[in-house]
Structures are given as C-alpha cells and as structure tokens.
C-alpha cells in the first residue's frame, strides 16, 4: 500500500504533530531515553478509567453538573427533605391563594389552583428524573448493544436491523409518542419512559454502529487479534472505549430532550396525568396565564432548563475525560 502521508502536509498539523506533549517535546526527550518528567504518584498504575476519574475530579464542568444532577436525584428520591408540604395531601391547595406572587414564606408563589409552586416543583422532580433516566438507560442499553452487535457482526443481521431503524426514523419522537400514548391511555412516568425508549433507541443504535465500524478495522484491533485476544476483549477493551464517547454525549443531551418531551406530552394532556405532578404538567397549566402570572411558568421552566443543562455539562465533561488526547 502507499506510504502514509508524512505529517508535514498542512500548516496546522505541524505544531500539533511536533508539539505532541512532553515526550516529544522538551530537551529531556531529545534522546530517546531521556530522563523524562517523573510521573506523579510513582507506582500508580494508570488506566483510561482511573485517569478519567482523576481528570473529572478537577473539572469544574463536571463538579457543577454533577452537583446539580445529584441534587435533582436527591430531590426525586426524598422531596420531604426540602419541603414540609405534601402536594398529595388534602387541603394542600387553597383557591384563595390562586396565582399569588412569590413571598417570604412561599418563595415561588402559588398557581391557579392555589397550590404552593415551590413544593410542587420539588415533588415534580421525581417524575421528570425518572422519565429522563429510565428512558436514557433503556435507549443506551437497547440501542447501544444492538449497534455494537450489528457493527461488529455486519452481514445480514446488520442489514435487517438497519432497515428496521430506518422505519423508526420516519416517526418523529413527539408524534409517535402522542400516537402511542393516546391509544394506550394510562399515562405515568413508566409508560412514558417505555414509549420514548421504543422511539428513541434507533438514534443510539446508529451512532454506536457507525462508531464501531469506524474503529473495528484500526490496526490496534488487528494487533489485539494477532496477540490472540478474544472477541470479548477486543470489543470491551478496544472497540467500546473508542466508540462510547459520542454515545455518552448524545445520550446526555437526549436525557434533557426526554425530560422536555415528557413535559410536552404532559402539556398535551397525553403524558403523565394529573393528579400526578411533573414539570411538564406544571408548565402546561401555567402557560395560559403567562402574561398575568409569569411566575407560575417561570419556576418549573427554570428548574427544567437547569436540569437539562446539568446533564449536558456532565456529558461534555465525561467525554473530554475519556479522551486522553485532551489531557
């Protein structure tokens, strides 16, 4: 085969090439066996995952995103920690308080039914987080493993599966969700998650499949085979770590999208149903009176946005940490 291009092809490549880190750089590396910088930690054995963790702990993006996500998860598990009120209890809402503005005792004010928005927002986290997490987990498990399998095996299995995903691609998430939910009726966090997972997996499948295809012919995979590595090792050590980065990014972004889609379905009245509480439902209820009572919309919408943003930040940080070239 033809000789690979020498690295001096484009101007931009030059600094990148020759400035490739400490090993190629400083005078220490001038002799092939220079003294080199002492490695931090001495006997520490580095691997992709330990290095990624070391990196993540220092990344502000990860710390902020992680803290927010953790906070939301705690909210979802134990809303009682943050509020005394229980929106499910009778007498929680008082029509006399309808649309009252935020005040010292009720930070977020009241909605049209006279329910305390702060308490409802706190309690609403549970359904939103469940939908986001469960949908994403299902999508990554199903789409990811099918994509991995199809990309690795190729052949007829891959062709058939890929045609199937194309059918799914023709159905928009929201439209399909509306269709299924309106026939199904029973709207709660679990059914909404299931429906969105059914509609969402092809995207991750595609992503994973193409990432596997891009990686499986690399020389390092051939080298592993030449060493006698089995399929499990090749896929687990060589293909997955190199293919997983785009999946992580898209999944975390999608997690936000799912939470938003749940809100949209609930807003349309076919997602999670009252008296269950979700941010989507709250936004839906608030929308009609946005002009004279903006706070009713503002608070759940803000919390929703912050949650989505937190997941995206987390995903970005994890992707960067898993790429040693960015170190």
């Amino acid at each position: 085969m033809s000789e690979p291009t020498k690295s001096e092809n484009t101007g931009a490549a030059i600094p990148g090439q020759s400035g490739s880190g400490p090993a190629a750089g400083g005078p220490a590396a001038a002799t092939a066996k220079g003294s080199g910088a002492p490695d931090a930690g001495g006997e520490r054995v580095a691997s992709l995952w330990t290095d990624a963790w070391t990196d993540l702990r220092r990344s502000p993006l990860f710390l902020i995103g992680g803290f927010l996500v953790l906070f939301m998860v705690v909210l979802a598990i134990a809303p009682q920690l943050f509020t005394d009120g229980d929106p499910r209890a009778g007498g929680f809402c008082n029509l006399a308080d309808s649309l009252k503005r935020p005040s010292g005792s009720h930070w977020f004010g009241f909605d049209v039914q006279g329910c305390d928005i702060y308490t409802r927002t706190i309690w609403g986290a549970r359904n939103s987080i469940i939908v986001g997490m469960v949908t994403t987990t299902l999508v990554v498990l199903v789409g990811g493993s099918l994509g991995l399998w199809a990309g690795w095996i190729g052949g007829i299995g891959d062709s058939v599966l890929s045609r199937v995903t194309e059918i799914f691609f023709a159905i928009p998430l929201l439209l399909g969700g509306m269709l299924i939910m309106s026939t199904w009726g029973e709207g709660n966090a679990w059914t909404v998650s299931a429906v969105m997972a059914v509609l969402g997996w092809p995207q991750i499948y595609r992503l994973m499949r193409s990432a596997v295809l891009a990686n499986k012919h690399n020389d390092y995979v051939v080298a592993a085979r030449a060493l006698g590595a089995g399929t499990g090792r090749i896929v687990g050590r060589h293909i997955l770590p190199n293919a997983v980065a785009p999946v992580i990014v898209v999944s975390t972004i999608n997690l936000g999208v799912y939470i938003g889609a749940e809100a949209a379905l609930s807003y349309l009245g076919i997602g999670i149903q009252s008296p269950a509480i979700s941010w989507g439902l709250m936004i839906s209820d608030a929308q009609a009176r946005f002009l004279n009572a903006p706070h009713v919309l503002l608070f759940p919408a803000a919390v929703l946005s912050v949650t989505v943003l937190a997941f995206i930040m987390l995903g970005d940080a994890v992707r960067d940490a898993l790429d040693p070239k960015l170190r």
């Binding site: 033809s2 020498k6 101007g11 931009a12 030059i14």
Partner: protein
C-alpha cells in the same frame, strides 16, 4: 542573514550545476535574476500549547530553469514555507511575522489579494503529495483540467476539452481522448499524479512548487513521474522547488539544495558538493543514516534523539541535543548561515552552513 542563498552564479559566475538561464522565450528575464526570492521569512503558529515557531528566518531563491530541492523532515518548516509562497497558508493559526517573498522582484506578501490571486496558479503552481484528495471526486478530470482555461482564459466548453486532451497527452496519459471523461478514482496513483502535473502546467507557470510529489507512489512509477516533471521543466524553462525528505530523489534531479531543520536553513550547496562533502553535521548524519542499495553495509549510523518540538526549540543551535560535535558554544550561540570556504580559503560558490564547526565537519 539576508542573502544566504543567492544562486551560485551571483558572485563567481555560473556554478557547475546551475542551469543557465537563456531567456526562455517568454517574458524577458535578465539572466541571473532570481525568479523567486524568499528573504528572512518568519512564520509562527498560535496553538493551544503555545507559539510554534515553524519558520525562523528562511531565505532562498530559484532562477528560471533551476531546480531547488528543499530537504527536511516533518516539522522542519519546508512545507510551511511553500504554503506561504503559494499564499495558501492557513492564517490563523499561521502568521507571517517577518520577511518577504519576491516573485520577479515584486513582494507577494504586500500585494493586493487580487494581484496575488493572479499570480497563484497562473505564475506559480503547486503539486501536492496526495493527488487523490487534491482532485474533486465528482468531476471528470477533463472538466477539472478544462476549468483552468474556462476560468483564466475564458475558453469555451469545446475548446476547454480540447486543451484538456492536449494536456493529458503532454503528460503522457495513454488514450487521453478516451479517458478525458473519466473520474479521478478511475486512474491509478501514478496517472493521478500526472493529472496533477498537467493541471499545474495548464497555464504555463514560471515556477512550480512540488511538495513531496512522488512520496505516495511506487518506485517504478516514482521514476516515471520525476522524469516527466524534469523533462517538462526543461521544456518550459520553469523554476522548480522540490520539497522532499527523500535524499535519493534529490540526488536525481536537484541543481542546488537547501537543508532545513527546525524552521531554519542549516546548509545550502550545489547538489554534487552536498553529497560529496556535507558541511553541517545534520546533513552528514542524514547521508550516513540511509542504507545503500549497492552494498550491504554494516550498522547504520543513527542520528540520536528526535527533531525538536517547534514550541520548544533548543537555544543556540537547534540541532545541539542530537549533534556529535556539540560544544559549549552550540548551546549559547545561534550559528549564522556563513559561506563555506575550501581548504585554501577560497569561497565555495553557493555553499553556506549554519554550524559553528563547519570547517571541521567539511574537512574532518
């Protein structure tokens, strides 16, 4: 440092290898006037990790009909210099911080963009290493060749095609008339490189810059392409800047050589003299490190270490960490590119070396 590489004939008359310039029939050219003069060129790249000094005061010149080989490894700045001449340097991140590039006496760097465009392609053309990615895969080669005439000369469709066929025949592509409608992927690597050459020749430029033109090709094809290039160069009396890392190709076609290391020219010489008696330890090391085809040979001499990072070029002489002959002065003082004298102290035309110990290297 400004006139480090004036052609050999500048002072002491034509050197043994310098191809004489005899008008060439086209634009009148005073013999001995360089076609292209690069003077004290400095180029920096701003990267995430700092400023990479890719080119640090490079000067060279080419006359019509002459072949200058710029020899260097990756990161030596040889391609960046060429990109600056062509005006295809990515800016940013690249930045020309100092120097001039004069084509027929006019500074390309201070020209208006419009005037510059007129020079590029029409007066100075470039041939790249990777012909496949330099050709548009969805257009036929005939169309791409003809485009030159349609754009620059306003030729009609039919005329452009005729010219394309003519060009393909000139670079000896068999059955040119039948193949003019074929797409780049239908040609072999060697044929594609011929098409690249045809494209560069289309407007009969005065200067061709060939950046590793044969590196991606097989040896037998390499020979064909280099021969073709040399022949066409002689026919049109063009200047040729051959950028390469291949000491074999250089020995075959070059008139004079500039050896680059870490963004500087470390040695210049007419081709025969460079190979016979290098005056810089880097050149000497390179020549000793390549195995010979005509004898088995013992252990190879290996230059120790690695080319420096352009972000952290060693102080003094950039080659000092790898040099056999290194002394204290090499760490502190940047060696200037000075004339190389023979044993009697007479100037060796065209020879310069940027080594504090060129005398020892040359005679030792």
């Amino acid at each position: 440092m400004t006139d480090m590489t004036k052609p050999a004939r500048d002072g002491a008359g034509p050197g043994p290898d310098a191809v004489q310039v005899i008008g060439g029939g086209r634009e009148s050219l005073v013999p001995g006037t360089p076609l292209l003069e690069v003077d004290d060129l400095h180029i920096k790249f701003h990267t995430r990790d700092g400023v990479a000094k890719a080119v640090n005061g490079v000067s060279y010149s080419v006359a019509a009909g002459e072949t200058l080989a710029v020899l260097g490894e990756s990161g030596s700045g040889k391609s960046v210099t060429a990109q600056a001449i062509m005006g295809i340097l990515d800016m940013p991140p690249g930045k020309i911080t100092k120097g001039s590039i004069r084509f027929r006496g006019e500074d390309l760097l201070t020209m208006s963009p419009k005037a510059r465009r007129a020079v590029r392609g029409r007066k100075i053309a470039m041939i790249f290493q990777d012909a496949l990615s330099s050709l548009n895969p969805v257009l036929s080669v005939g169309y791409q060749l003809g485009e030159m005439f349609r754009v620059h000369q306003g030729a009609g469709r039919k005329e452009a095609k005729e010219k394309a066929v003519e060009l393909m025949e000139r670079v000896r592509i068999p059955a040119a008339r039948q193949r003019v409608g074929d797409y780049p992927h239908q040609f072999s690597g060697g044929m594609r490189q011929r098409i690249m050459i045809a494209m560069a020749l289309a407007l009969e430029p005065d200067l061709i810059i060939a950046d590793e033109p044969t590196t991606a090709l097989d040896v037998t094809v390499q020979a064909q392409v280099m021969d073709l290039l040399a022949e066409l160069q002689a026919e049109f009396n063009m200047g040729l800047i051959l950028i390469t890392h291949d000491l074999g190709v250089v020995a075959d076609v070059a008139d004079k050589i500039a050896v680059m290391y870490a963004g500087r020219i470390v040695e210049t010489a007419p081709v025969h003299e460079l190979y016979a008696r290098p005056a810089h330890p880097y050149t000497k090391g390179l020549l000793n490190s390549i195995p010979r085809l005509d004898q088995k040979g013992q252990n190879l001499y290996a230059i120790q270490g690695l080319p420096p990072s352009l972000l952290r070029i060693p102080s003094g002489c950039a080659f000092n960490p790898r040099c056999d002959r290194v002394q204290d002065v090499c760490h502190t003082e940047l060696p200037r590119l000075v004339p190389v004298l023979d044993a009697e102290g007479a100037d060796l035309p065209g020879r310069r070396s940027a080594c504090h110990f060129w005398k020892e290297t040359l005679h030792g």
